[in-house]
Amino acid sequence: MDNVLNQIGIENYIFLSVILFSIGVFGVLYRRNAIIVFMSIEIMLNAVNLLFVAFSTYHQDANGQVFVFFSMAVAAAEVAVGLAILVAVFRNIGSIDVANLKNLKG
């Protein structure tokens, strides 16, 4: 196992997941369609999961991989709730464009 890390080096994993994470962030910032925003958030979380696995390998320690399961479960739950809210919103205003949610301000 370790040879993999030796060949590539943990830093690169970090860079990769940082990049992924940033992509997710930008997605959240720039997309207005709620679904895509969700997916961007998922990208963020999965970037982290990737890094978890990498670190767990790096440390020869299973905790990290266990944690990934936690985070997946949590992410699933979050998205479930999120979609539920989204449906409610869609029912009410007939759109899933987050830019339309501007009634509360000032």
Partner: protein, 455 residues
């Protein structure tokens, strides 16, 4: 530990009650259960224990804060009776969700492992997303839920990344180990970055500037009872957790980091107070006031070693005042579609008791003796000055002067104006909660040592 189990069990019990159609019993049973749990928790005071190889660590910090959370939840549950009276079918869900939120909160203050902390915060958050959006047919509620969910999830992502980096640096999620390691070797930069990311995540939860934008909208949009939960329970939880994180992760406070805290706390209190001045919606106003109080509480992070007691006291004072205030708001705005100040006109004439309670709550938040809010500020200031941040205290003082401006706007509305509607019905539970909360507030004002000496 037992607390956590008991609370979760209680939550499940609610759902079961629903199944067996014992709706009437839910709230009484819950309250009794909560009080029992409270006793149980307090009995653990003074003991240091850890369970499931340090997943959960019980110590005075966790016990005292857990007790506070339980008390707050009890109040909130008590108020749910009237609040949900018009859709009884959902009551069990709401109650149980509240209990799960409480469970999450307790997990957050008594975690011994970052995994536990993460789960706790997520349980709390997800529960809140649901509660925020729980008025299915109200656009405002939906919007609030949506906003809260998106930003919350975003924050969770950042926290997760932080945890990951910390893990990467330390190779463990166990805070004890992390603490010991962080003292020893030279640490990779990720560690600090990770800590900062976690902290920022928490700053989002406590709604500190510039991570506060969600708060006013969400507070305003959510059903009032949920707002009450957020502005009292959740804020306190997040603050306590942030405090605990910084203590256990033992990230020795570099000067730069302290500067960050100072700047953020100044920004939070100032922005919060200034923005609150022109608000007409009471919930929104209290949201901003909550932001400013978050700023105040951040000051405790400048003297981590000593300020635990102060934080607890401030949290108690603030949240009790908040509960009292929201009890009144719930009563006054129960049947109105909005919570504008006009609804409070002449409350002093129609419901002198509630008016008095709300006045007391606001005075407490404003920091007027003999209410506990004053002592909270006092202790906070004296800690901060002895930590050497006089100028910060002076700015805080100026802020508390500003804050009087909008607190008194409400008081004036209650006493200075003529009632524009006759208010019928005296929901006993609202009255009870309001009065008890304010009395507790005053009581700990008379005997601050009760709280201060717990830590």
């Amino acid at each position: 530990m037992t607390t956590l189990i008991a609370i979760t069990g209680l939550g499940v019990l609610c759902l079961i009650f629903e199944i067996f159609n014992l709706r009437k019993g839910i709230i009484p049973v819950t309250i009794i259960g909560l009080l029992a749990t409270l006793g149980l928790t307090m009995s653990e005071y003074g003991t240091e224990a850890s369970y499931y190889n340090n997943m959960i660590v019980v110590n005075n910090f966790s016990v005292t804060f857990s007790s506070l959370f339980i008390v707050l939840t009890t109040f909130i549950v008590a108020m749910s009776h009237n609040f949900y009276s018009n859709h009884p079918t959902k009551i069990s869900d709401f109650i149980s969700i509240k209990l799960f939120i409480l469970a999450g909160a307790i997990a957050m203050v008594s975690f011994g492992n970052l995994a536990m902390y993460f789960l706790g915060i997520e349980i709390l958050s997800i529960g809140l997303y649901v509660m925020a959006a729980s008025e299915r047919l109200s656009i405002r509620s939906n919007e609030a839920g949506m906003k809260y969910f998106l930003m919350g999830a975003f924050a969770s992502g950042i926290i997760l990344f932080g945890i990951c980096l910390v893990y990467g640096a330390m190779g463990s999620f166990d805070v004890a180990e992390i603490a010991s390691l962080s003292r020893s070797a030279e640490l990779p930069a990720w560690f600090f970055i990770g800590v900062i990311m976690i902290v920022i995540g928490m700053l989002f939860k406590v709604a500190a500037v510039p991570f506060h934008f969600w708060a006013p909208d969400v507070y305003e949009g959510s059903p009032t009872l949920t707002t009450a939960t957020m502005s009292t329970l959740v804020k306190v939880v997040a603050m306590a957790t942030l405090f605990k994180l910084l203590v256990v992760l033992n990230a020795e406070m570099s000067y730069a980091f302290q500067m960050i805290i100072v700047v953020l706390s100044i920004a939070s209190m100032t922005v919060g107070n200034i923005m609150a001045l022109r608000q007409v919606n009471v919930k929104r106003m209290l949201a901003f006031s909550g932001i400013s109080h978050a700023g105040f509480m951040l000051m405790t992070l400048l003297s981590l070693s000593t300020a635990a007691g102060t934080l607890l006291y401030y949290a108690t004072a603030y949240s009790l005042a908040g509960i009292a205030a929201f009890a009144v708001i719930l009563y006054v705005c129960g049947k109105n579609e909005n919570e504008d100040i006009v609804n409070f006109h002449g409350l002093g004439k129609t419901n002198p008791v509630l008016a008095a309670v709300l006045t007391g709550a606001l005075l407490s938040m404003g920091g007027i003796p003999i209410f506990s809010g004053f002592f909270a500020k006092l202790f906070l200031f004296s800690d901060t000055i002895s930590a050497g941040y006089l100028f910060l205290v002076i700015i805080a003082v100026i802020n508390s002067i500003i804050s009087i401006g909008y607190y008194f706007k409400l008081i004036l509305a209650m006493y200075g104006k003529e009632p524009n509607e006759e208010r019928t019905g005296t929901p006993v539970l609202y009255y009870a909660v309001a009065v008890i909360a304010i009395l507790l507030n005053i009581a700990i004002g008379f005997f601050p040592s009760l709280i201060m000496d717990l830590m």
